[in-house]
């Protein structure tokens, strides 16, 4: 039971989607009454009773198979990283967000919050605004690739919630990002 409960969101989601697809096209209910043989008069010459046409087999519900390999789904949405004091989408962020857009198109019910984050080497107040810009840049890029903007919220955390607290460029780079949080499945 506990294993089932801990099943990751996307796996549970995938299971649900398949189940829903199976349920949505129920086999049509046969409404024509089945022909019942009526006993003929005994004295009458046996006349060939026309064999009732065999009812055609109801069509099988169609099963549509889409590749949603689960190993890809968990944590799939890749953050976009930014340069110091910049909110422009870099080539590596373009690559990440393009894959994210594809994923979001595939999983069309997902809604996400895009969090804008900044590293500590900037002022608290301006970073709050810069984080908003980073989140907005990532959102606008996703929208340009066909993701519906109503599925994308943005929120800035400035430098208030860093992912990494060391004083290295490696760490600062981790903190300059637009980060996905799934808010609805």
């Amino acid at each position: 039971m506990s294993r089932f409960v801990r099943t990751s969101g996307p796996i549970a989601l995938a299971a649900f989607v398949v189940f829903a697809a199976a349920c949505s096209k129920k086999p049509p209910v046969q409404t024509t009454p089945a022909p019942t043989p009526t006993p003929g008069p005994v004295e009458a010459a046996p006349t060939p009773v026309p064999v009732p046409a065999r009812p055609s087999r109801p069509p099988e519900p169609e099963v549509k198979v889409t590749d949603r390999t689960l190993v890809e789904i968990s944590g799939y949405l890749k953050p976009a990283f930014f340069d110091y004091d910049k909110a422009e989408i870099r080539p590596d962020a373009r690559e990440a967000l393009s894959a994210d857009a594809e994923f979001l198109r595939k999983w069309s019910t997902l809604k996400v919050s895009l969090e804008g984050h900044c590293d500590e080497r900037g002022t608290r107040e301006y970073n709050m605004a810069l984080g908003q810009r980073r989140a907005a840049s990532a959102r606008d890029f996703l929208v340009s690739l066909g993701v519906d903007s109503s599925r994308l919220q943005i929120i800035s955390y400035g430098k208030e919630r860093p992912f990494c607290t060391g004083q290295t460029e490696d760490c600062w780079q981790k903190n300059r990002r637009a980060h996905f949080v799934v808010t609805a499945k």
């Binding site: 080497r121 002022t123 107040e125 301006y126 605004a129 989140a135 004083q167």
Partner: protein, 450 residues
Amino acid sequence: MIRTIALSTLLAGLPALAAPQSAPPTPLPASPQETIIAVDITKPSGARTPIAIPPPISPLTPELKTNAVDPFFRALNDDLAAYPAFLVTDVSLQPKGARPPRSREEGDAWIATGAQFLLDTQVRPTASGVEVEAQLYDLKTLKNVFGKAYASEAGGARRIAHTLANDVVRQFTGRPGPFLARIAFVSDRHTPKGGRPEKEVFVMDWDGENQWRLTASRSLSLAPDWSPDGKKIVFQSYMKGAPGLFVVPTAGGAAKEIPVSTELNASPSFSPDGKWIAYCGSVRGNPEVFVVGVDGTGLRRLTDNSAVDSTPRWAPNGREMAFTSNRQGSPQVYLMDGEGANVRRISLAGNWNDEATFAPDGSRLAFACGNEGDFQICVLDLLSGRTFQISAGPGAHENPSWSPDGSKLAWEVTRDGGTQIVVGNTDGSSIRVVTSAGNNSSPTWSKTLE
């Protein structure tokens, strides 16, 4: 609670300037009703008025010493020693038995210790608390400059000290000191172990004592600013998920949201008349400066630029505003009028300037001045156009706030991964760390003196 940063620490790693420079003179207006001993509080520290503050005379009961005499004396010393007009002399040199000085010889014995004035105090228990009698003597004339008695209930010894220190400053400058003003700030000290950082708004005395929590948002509550009358604090909070503007009574109570249609809703600043909040709001991902009534009515946008516009702070005259914009490629400080017109850039050096805030008399701006990730506190004199760096040393220094008398600045310093609040004079002297529990940031002085 208070630690003084050694000057050698301050000077280490100071790249551009050889030493903190004193701010340009800004004479304080003298109140005509009072006898004023003229002291230019912006003179170099060598010209501070030397004042002797011997330990109070009091009954020798351990309880009185612990509960009243020691806290009183420590607070009085901390206040006056850190004030730019005074030099508190070494009381280990004090002459025996010359309190108060009654003869020329006794006066000269004090003057020989380097003092020009003597602040003589007595602490006595009363039925309900404590009384302090204070006499200030001019040692040259042996004249009693003032004499006052202060009484309070038990636990009021520190508040008596701050009230007396304000009176002593008033005697010399015509205006009270900042010692009864308070500082709002943000602390993460109540973050649950292993949880995401939670930040709440706190309030403390100027010297870091008497800290108490004002919000219980269990999220991020940031960027507090006081209403001009000191009764309310506006702040940005994530308590409802998306960040909003909230107002909380400083006496305690529930925070109330100011309804606005913008996102982000950062860096709120009360107008000098207390009716409006300027803040950084976002529409379609573009941060701009907005103004809204404290009741949520009258929302209007002041900036209209595709660049980031953030961090608005009102000038004391209510007609101008400082803000930050990267419209020329990097975050810089600009001024505009109250309707968003007449925009001009005023920070010229460095590649990241932000968090500009006006001195109470409007003559100067303090801001975080940054270059290549190194942040210090700078003060720009608006008349001369000259900029002085008043902080120094390792760490990132930011978020300056003026004391309501204009003599001090509080700011935050991030060093070795931790952030604490310091308070120093506007010439960069007497810098002290005043917080220690958790990380503490965004200090903001109240705007009233008493």
